[in-house]
C-alpha cells in the first residue's frame, strides 16, 4: 500500500500501521482516511500530503 508524506513536517503515513492516535486501524489506505483526519505530528489537513515516490 502507498505511503504518504506530510509536506508541512515530513511525517509519513504508513497504512500498515494506521494512526491509532486518531482511531485509524492498521491497513487503512490513505484514500480511506476521513476528511477530518489530520497529520498527527503537525495538524496539517489531508490535502497537504503527497504520495511517497
Amino acid at each position: 500500500m502507498e505511503k504518504w508524506e506530510c509536506t508541512v513536517c515530513g511525517w509519513v503515513y504508513d497504512p500498515e500501521k494506521g494512526d491509532p492516535s486518531q482511531g485509524i486501524e492498521p491497513r487503512t489506505p490513505f484514500s480511506d482516511l476521513p476528511d477530518s483526519w489530520v497529520c498527527p505530528e503537525c495538524g496539517a489537513p489531508k490535502s497537504m500530503f503527497e504520495k511517497l515516490s
Binding site: 515530513g10 511525517w11 509519513v12 505530528e41 495538524g43 489537513p45 515516490s53
Partner: protein, 392 residues
C-alpha cells in the same frame, strides 16, 4: 552532506531523477533521519524516537541510498571535488549538496555555560532536557519565539513551573503584532505559563548548576533548568573553510547554487535573497530543487516559500501566514479581536490582494485565507467574512 529533512529530501529526488547514481548521505548524529519538529513531543514525553523516524534501514537500502550516521564531514575541497570525514576517509563526488542545517544560537549571557542551561536542536538535546526536567521544579525559557513557546508547553507537561522571557515587547515578534501578542500571552497564562516580555536575562547564577536567573529590572527567578531558544545560526564552518560565499547563511542563487561550481545548498544552512527560512516546508522545496540542479544544472528554479507557522500548543490555536507586518508596513491592515475568547485576526492586503494573515483562537475559514494568499486573487467583498471567520 547532512541527513536532515533537506538532505534526505534531496537524496530522494536524486534517486528519482538519476536512477543509476550512487547516493550517499553523511550525517554527524548517530541515528537515522528523524522529524526535528517532533522533538517537542519527545520532550513532553508523548512520543518515542522510533515514532519520529519515517524511514528505517531497509527503506534506505531498497532505495539505493546509503545513509551513514556518525559520519561528520570535516573538510570540503570544491576545486578537487573531494570531501573528508572526521575519521580521515576521503571521497570524491560528482555533485554535492550542502544541507548541514543550523545550530541553536547561544547569546552571550553571563553564566549561560552553567550545567542545566541547554538549547534544543538535536535528539540528544531533547533527551537531555527531558532528563533535567525530571529533577527540576521551575524552568526558564529564554526566547518567546515558536520554539520557545512550544518548549514551554512541553516542559509544562512535566508539571514544572515555566516562565518564558522575551526581550521584544511581545511574543513571536517577527510574526505577531502587539495586540496579537497580548492575546496570546493571556492564553498561555491560562495553561500555567508565565510570560515576561520586554525583558532579558542579565545573568544566570548557580554553584555548579544553574539555580537563579537575574532579569533586567532586577527580578530574580529560582530555576533548575534553563532552555535557550534565541534563534538559529546556519552552520557555516565547512562553507567558510571551502571558501564559499557566506553571509548569514551560505549564499545561493535562484538555482540554489553556491559560489563554488557543482556545490548546491538547501535548508536551514542556505541563504536565498537574504532569507534563511528556518522551516521544514522551505527545506523540503529547496532540497528538491537542489537535487534537480545537481542532475541537470539550471533545470529547476526556486521562487521562495510562503511562510506558514502554526503554534503547536494544545489549547491555543494560532497560525501566521505570509507577510504579517508585525510592526506595520505598506499593506492595508484589517483586524478583528475578541480577547476574552482568545480570538484575534489580522489580514494584510496590498493592492486588494491578501499577502499575510494572523489567525488566532478560531481557525474557521483558514483554508480560504491560505488559498487567497497563494493564489494572489483580489479579495473584494469577501473581506468582512474572512475577517470574522465563523463568528461573523
Amino acid at each position: 552532506m547532512g541527513g536532515g529533512i533537506a538532505g534526505v529530501t534531496a537524496a530522494r529526488r536524486l534517486r528519482a531523477l538519476a536512477p543509476k547514481a550512487e547516493i550517499l548521505i553523511f550525517e554527524q548524529e548517530p541515528q537515522l533521519y528523524y522529524l526535528r519538529p517532533g522533538l517537542i513531543d519527545l520532550l513532553a514525553g508523548e512520543k518515542k524516537p522510533a515514532e519520529l523516524t519515517p524511514f528505517d534501514r531497509n527503506w534506505y537500502e531498497s532505495h539505493g541510498i546509503s545513509f551513514r550516521p556518525s559520519a561528520q564531514v570535516v573538510e570540503l575541497d570544491p576545486g578537487r571535488h573531494t570531501l573528508t570525514l572526521s575519521g580521515g576517509e576521503k571521497m570524491s563526488y560528482a555533485g554535492l549538496i550542502l544541507a548541514t542545517g543550523a545550530d541553536a544560537f547561544r547569546p552571550p549571557v553571563p553564566g549561560a555555560s552553567l550545567p542545566g542551561t541547554l538549547t534544543l536542536r538535536s535528539l540528544q538535546d531533547a533527551l537531555e532536557i527531558r532528563e533535567r526536567a525530571q529533577g527540576a521544579r521551575a524552568a526558564l525559557v529564554l526566547g518567546g519565539g515558536w520554539l520557545g513557546l512550544e518548549t514551554a508547553r512541553a516542559l509544562r507537561a512535566w508539571k514544572l513551573e515555566v516562565t518564558v522571557v522575551e526581550r521584544a515587547p511581545w511574543l513571536l515578534p517577527r510574526q505577531l503584532d502587539r495586540a496579537g501578542g497580548e492575546v496570546l500571552a493571556t492564553q498561555l497564562n491560562k495553561l500555567g505559563i508565565e510570560v515576561i516580555t520586554g525583558t532579558s536575562c542579565q545573568e544566570l547564577r548557580g554553584d555548579g548548576e544553574v539555580r537563579e536567573a537575574i532579569l533586567t529590572g532586577g527580578r530574580r527567578l529560582p530555576v533548575q533548568l534553563v532552555v535557550i531558544a534565541a534563534g538559529i545560526r546556519p552552520r557555516l564552518g565547512l562553507a567558510r573553510q571551502a571558501g564559499l560565499a557566506v553571509n548569514r547563511g551560505v549564499v545561493v542563487d535562484d538555482w540554489l547554487a553556491t559560489s563554488a561550481e557543482g556545490v548546491y545548498a538547501c535548508g536551514d544552512v542556505a541563504e536565498w535573497q537574504g532569507k534563511v527560512f528556518g522551516i521544514v516546508p522551505a527545506a523540503r522545496e529547496q532540497g528538491q530543487i537542489a537535487a534537480a540542479n545537481v542532475v541537470e544544472p539550471g533545470s529547476a528554479r526556486y521562487r521562495g516559500t510562503v511562510v506558514k507557522n502554526r503554534l503547536k500548543v494544545a489549547g491555543v490555536e494560532l497560525v501566521c501566514l505570509g507577510d504579517t507586518q508585525p510592526e506595520g508596513g505598506p499593506g492595508e491592515e484589517h483586524r478583528y479581536a475578541s480577547p476574552q475568547e482568545g480570538v484575534y485576526r489580522k489580514l494584510v492586503l496590498r493592492g486588494g490582494k491578501l499577502v499575510g494573515a494572523i489567525v488566532m483562537g478560531d481557525l474557521s475559514g483558514l483554508g480560504e485565507v491560505e488559498r487567497l494568499i497563494s493564489a494572489g486573487e483580489e479579495v473584494g467583498g469577501e473581506l468582512k467574512r474572512l475577517l470574522t471567520g465563523r463568528l461573523g
